[in-house]
Every structure is written in C-alpha cells, then in structure tokens.
C-alpha cells in the first residue's frame, strides 16, 4: 500500500531522515517507535506531503504523493492540534471533515454514534469550541475526525500520549478493531513500547532518522525493544 523509497531529509547538513526502503502492505497496522528526534513526525509529514523530502519518494497506493494529490481521497491523519479548527465546535468540525469526504450530516451523525463511549460525554453536545477543550479531549476529536469517511490509510502521531487511562484503553481497542479490518492500513507512532507492541502487527524502530529494527510483533518484541532502549 505504502512504499517508501530512498527517503532522506536534510536540514542544512543535518540528516534527520534516511530510509532505504519500507514497504507497508494493505491492511497492516504499522508502529513507529523511537526517541525524540528519531524522525517519526518527519516521516509522517513526508508521507502526507507536508514536507518535501531532500531525496526519494513516497508511493501511497500507486500515487507519488509529491506529484499528485489523489492520495488525499483515501488517506487521513491526525498529527497534532494543527489538524483542528479551533473556532469550530466539535460537531461542526466533524461535519466539515465529513463534507470534504463526501458525507452528509446524517451519515456523520450515525458514524459518530459508535464513538459515544469513547467521547465519554465530553465532546458532543457541549458548549465549547475546540480551542477551549482540554488537550486530551482535543485529541479525541482529532483522532475520530481522522476516521471519518472510511479511509484506507490512517496516520496517527502519538495517539496515546496525553490521554487518560480509560480513553487510552478505548482508543487501543479502536485501533485493534481497525487492524482486524484488512482494508485499512494504520500507521501509529509512539514513545511507549508497551502501547505499540500491544496494538501493532509490525514495529519499526527509528533512531536519528534510520531504521534500526523492523520487527513483526511477537511475544518477544517487548523485551527486545526494552533491551534496546536500556542501551544493552
């Protein structure tokens, strides 16, 4: 589904991303892990054509993302709060995103109904604009908006950080449900090795922009990652 080829990004002389090749097949739940500055967000930004790579390319479902914009019709993302429109109410925001993806109000409403638990009564029907919600609630809204319109590729940057325990557990089960659906490719990044090993089928460890490990998740994965980050 997604092919990353010879992707490098340099700022001045510093190389922040240098990936020979990663091939993510359709339906895979793909986890990206690494310390600060490992290049996780940079990689996602390249996938979404928000940053122009110095070299190399990203092919998303046969579309070269820097050449054509066709990938936008089946790819969604939530990287950070710059994906939220602060002056909208959550409902208005969902409708807006829905309209862009060809869903009318009713369809968006019925889509949102399944997230009632996840929202925990704090998102819909409130009297607040997105800008006035807490960071955690903003993230909930952003993540759900990224799921509107049956996307084939969903990219979430650190979705589990800053969430309360209940929401973390619920979001993990949402991601796991998606990974059962073999039509959706999910890309998730995290700082928490436990989180990624729990939800991802495959884990790539980045360090200073390079792929250090590329693992199919197994019972040993957690230990392996742990020992790496301990410096053993």
């Amino acid at each position: 589904m997604i092919k990353i080829e010879n992707l490098t990004k340099k700022y001045l002389k510093q190389t922040v991303l240098d990936i020979d090749s990663i091939d993510i097949p359709l339906g895979q739940t793909f986890g990206l892990i690494g310390n600060n500055g490992a290049g996780k967000t940079t990689l996602f930004s390249c996938l979404l054509d928000l940053i122009k790579p110095t070299k190399g390319k990203v092919i998303n479902n046969d579309v070269d993302v820097s050449k054509s914009e066709d990938w936008k019709s089946f790819t969604t993302a939530f990287l950070d709060e710059t994906f939220l429109i602060g002056y909208l109410m959550p409902e208005e925001y969902f409708y807006f995103i829905g309209e862009l993806r060809g869903l009318n109000k009713k369809e968006v409403d019925s889509f949102l109904a399944q997230f009632e638990d996840f929202f925990h009564g704090e998102i819909l029907g409130g009297k607040k604009y997105l800008r006035d919600l807490s960071k955690g609630n903003q993230k909930k809204a952003g993540v759900v908006a990224a799921l509107i319109g049956e996307p084939k590729v969903v990219i979430l940057d650190e979705p589990f950080a800053n969430l309360d325990p209940t929401t973390q557990i619920r979001l993990k089960s949402i991601v796991k449900d998606m990974s059962k659906n073999k039509d959706v490719t999910v890309l998730v990044s995290s700082h928490d090795i436990q989180d990624v090993t729990e939800v991802c089928e495959r884990i790539v460890l980045l360090e200073k922009g390079r792929v250090i490990k590329d693992l199919v998740t197994s019972p040993e994965t957690l230990k392996e990652l742990e020992s790496y980050f301990k410096g053993e």
């Binding site: 054509d49 928000l50 790819t75 993302a77 429109i85 002056y87 009297k127 604009y129 800008r131 006035d132």
Partner: protein
C-alpha cells in the same frame, strides 16, 4: 532585571516564528512609520501657518489663530487616538506564565510590560507634529514660550493617559461600551450641530497654555492611571484570573442554507464562523465598515483643492477614496488569505481539497463583502451627487475584477501566521491589521487612479469611470486565467507556507 526582560523581548522579536520571512513586512512597517512621521512633520509645519477652513492661508501676521484652531480640534484628535489604539495597538505579551515561577517580583513583570508601551509609535509619532509646530509658533513671537512648553508637556501627558487607558479598555468590557457610546454620542451631537464641542475643547486646552501649573493634574492622572493599571494586572497574575482564557459559551451556527453552493459553501460556512467567533477576524469586518467612510475624507475636500491642477487632481483623490470605500473588507480579509487558516493549514493540506475550490470560496466571500460595501457606499456617497456614485461603482468593478485576484495572489506570499485565539489572552493581542496590509494595497490602488486621472483629463469624469469599470469587467471575464496563476503560486509556496505557519 529590567535588562534581562528587555533581552527576552528582543530575542522574541528577533527569533519569532517567521522572523526571516517577516523582513519585508518589517521594512514596510518601518516605511509606514517613516511615512507617518514625515506627514506629521509636514502637518506641523503647515498647521503653524494655518487658521482653519474659514480663515486664510497663510495667516496674517501677529495672530494666534493656528494655536486656537488646533486646540479646537484636539478633542477629536484624542477621540480618534483612543479608537485607533484600541484597534491597532498591540499590547505587550510577555511570556508571563514562564516568569511566574522565576525569581522575579511580580511587580517587575507588570512594570516592564507597562513601561515597554511608553515607546510605541502611537506615543512617539505625535512628537513629529508637536515639535515643528511649537517651534514655529514660538519663532513667530506671538506666543508665551513657557506657556507653549507646558502646553506641550500637557499634550504628551494626555497621550500617555490614552496609552494606559487603552489597557483598561482592552480588559473591561463595560468601560469599552461606555467609551464607545460616549464617543458615538459626541460624534452625533456634533453631526447634528447640537453642541459645538470645539469651543470647549479650545477653552480646555488653552487653559494649559494660560495656566501652566494645570499641567500637574494631567501628569498626576498619568501616574495614577499607571498605578491603577499596574495594580489591576498584578491582581490578575494568577492562572485562574487574568491569565485564564475567557471561554465563551459555544453555539452551533447552522449555515446549511448555503449548501446549495456545493463545495464552495463548505468553506464559506467555516469562514463565516471564523468572522463571527474570532475577535481577530472580526476586526477585518469592522475595518471594512470603517473604510466605507474613507471616501468622505477626500470627497468633502474636493472644493478645497479645486484650484489645484484644474480640479482633476482633487477628483482623482476622491476616486481613490471611493475605491477604498468599496474595497475595505476585500483588502482587510483578502490580504490574510491563507493566513486565516494558518493554525490548521496542515489539516487543509491533507484533505481532499482542490485549491480552486478553496480559493474560490475565499474569493466569493471577498466579493460578497465588496458587493455589500458597494451598496452601502453608493448610498453614503449619493449625497455628493451622481458623479460620486459612478465613481463608487467603477471602483467596485475594479475591486471585484482585479483587486480580488491581486490580493489573493499576494496572500500566497504573505505567510505570517495569525493566532486566532490570542485575543482571549490576559494582556490581549488584537493587532488584526498591520502596516503591510495597507501597503500591499498601493499598487492595486495606483493603477486605477492613474487610468481614471488620464482618461478623465482628456475626456470627462464618466469616461474615466467607464475606463476603470471596463478594466474590472475584463478582469471578471479573465477569472479562469487569473485563478490558474494564483493556484500555481499557492502550490509552489505550499511547503514554505507550511513551515512558516508551524507553531512549535
């Protein structure tokens, strides 16, 4: 300590998010300041020789008419100063939260924030007028030098009163409404000539010339206000008080009646909400309304300059005024496309959005604003005769057919992020417009005025209007071509725009 805080400010100024990209903006801003300083200086020179509309220019020897005339007008000067400050002057925003826990006295934080405003151009520019004006008056030998000096000290005092008063205006809504109502009342009473405030203004300000010690009271007021504002902010330095963001109760705005316009409507709905809910964006609307009356400045003075260059110069200046009257909103809103969306530009760039739809929606909103402005302006200027209305309509055509595109095109290169939420800050930042916005407009304004000037010179007024309107109409037909060029600019600028908007 003061030095260190100043250093912090300097670094913020230098290393601010778009420091590099803002260089041109900075240059233009300074160009604007120099321009206004020069104009103030020239006005100071002229005013010292001028005795008001009914009087002769230059004045006869040995009268004090210029001084009296200025005193008459000062009440309006200060009224406008208060209004301008409220809308334009940005109040200092130190990174207060970070300093709260630092070993810095809270009084020092507040004192620094307040004293920094002492040197804003609103306080400095008047000196460019006052100094040459007073100097020439003193030189004429008709005035008491001590009186003049104290009169100046008093005026500067009042300027600082408005400076600190502005802090309160920005933070106390009741005061704001009170002052707004008072200013409106003064304007209304003057307009219907119920009360002539200029008489009182003259007496009041002449007092400080006549009785220099009265100046003490002004400065006592300055220090009292400073102390009051200081105390007010000191009390607010808690996370749940002044530093807390005011949260307005949200209400859904249903603009579904717009849905029939398809994808364009999707964005227009959002922009309407933006204009409604962001203080910063609302200012664009207020400015648009304000500019409706811009033409009055020139139209009301046409007679004054009718001898100059056969009167056609005066007409051209009026034409410039009309052009701005209908285009105010277009410039105020359009110059900040796509900056209005800067906070969520990455979202927009990853959605299935065609630039064409996006730009078309912004353009449509600008055009709707222009059409409404035109209707209102034609009404306002109908009092100046049909010729004025022709000029207004010609300006409107040009704005729709040419300036809309130019503004959007320039927007691709603007790249200054707008913090829509910042106005809710304790120290409030309401700088919705900057000098650049106005200056980008000049090439867009100069061409139609020149076209009008030359055609009306050789033919007549109506032909001049038709020529400009013709250019506009041509522009309307060339929309696809213009949009293609604009789209290209947006596409090539995409990455650098994203980078400039990045906030972390």
């Amino acid at each position: 300590m003061f030095k260190r805080m100043f250093g912090l400010q300097w670094k913020e100024f230098n290393r601010g998010k778009a420091a590099g990209g803002k260089l041109i903006a900075k240059i233009l801003k300074w160009f604007g300041i120099v321009y206004f300083a020069f104009m103030s200086f020239m006005m100071g020179l002229i005013a010292s020789k001028y005795g008001g509309p009914s009087m002769t220019f230059p004045i006869e020897e040995g009268t004090t008419a210029p001084f009296l005339y200025l005193n008459k007008q000062l009440i309006y000067v200060f009224a406008y100063l208060i209004v301008m400050r409220y809308f334009i002057q940005s109040l200092p925003v130190l990174n207060i939260r970070a300093l709260l826990l630092a070993p810095v006295l809270k009084t020092q934080i507040v004192r620094f924030s307040l004293l920094k405003t002492v040197f804003t151009y609103f306080n400095i520019l008047p000196l460019f007028f006052l100094i040459p004006f007073s100097f020439l008056l003193a030189k004429s030998g008709n005035y008491d030098i001590t009186g003049l000096i104290f009169w100046n000290i008093n005026i500067i005092g009042i300027i600082y009163v408005t400076n600190f008063f502005n802090f309160l205006l920005n933070n106390k809504d009741k005061l704001l409404y009170g002052v707004g109502a008072t200013l409106a009342l003064i304007k209304a009473l003057e307009f219907y000539s119920v009360i002539d405030f200029t008489i009182y203004s003259e007496q009041f300000f002449y007092l400080f010339y006549n009785a220099p010690y009265a100046t003490c009271f002004t400065w006592l007021l300055v220090f009292w206000l400073y102390g009051y504002v200081k105390k007010y902010f000191l009390k607010g330095l808690y996370l749940d008080k002044g530093l807390q963001l005011k949260i307005a109760e949200a209400k859904i705005d249903d603009f579904s009646f717009l849905d029939r316009f398809g994808k364009t409507a999707t964005f227009i709905k959002n922009d309407l909400r933006l204009l409604k809910r962001s203080k910063r964006a609302r200012t664009a609307v207020y400015m648009g309304i304000g500019f409706l009356f811009y033409g009055l400045i020139f139209a009301s003075q046409e007679d004054l300059y009718s001898d100059f260059a056969g009167g056609s110069f005066a007409l051209a200046m009026s034409f410039f005024g009309y052009l701005f009257s209908t285009g105010g909103f277009l410039f105020m809103f359009g110059s900040f496309v796509p900056s209005w969306d800067s906070q969520y530009y990455p979202l927009m760039m990853t959605q299935k959005i065609l630039y064409k739809e996006y730009l078309n929606s912004k353009w449509s909103l600008m055009i709707i604003g222009t059409v409404i402005s035109t209707i209102l302006a034609s009404f306002i200027y109908s009092f100046f005769g049909t010729n004025a209305v022709y000029a207004v309509l010609a300006g409107a055509f040009y704005n729709i057919g040419v300036n809309g595109y130019l503004t959007l095109w320039a927007g691709a290169y603007t790249k200054s992020p707008i913090d829509l939420n910042s106005s809710a800050n304790a120290f409030g930042d309401k700088k919705a417009i900057n000098a650049k916005t106005l200056l980008v407009g000049f090439p867009q304004m100069l061409l139609p005025v020149l076209v009008y000037y030359f055609t009306s010179q050789y033919y007549d007024h109506l032909t001049g209007c038709l020529a400009v309107a013709g250019l506009g109409t041509l522009g309307i037909f060339l929309k696809p071509v213009a949009f293609n060029l604009i789209m290209k600019a947006y596409k090539t600028e995409k990455y650098s725009t994203l980078k400039a908007y990045k906030t972390n």
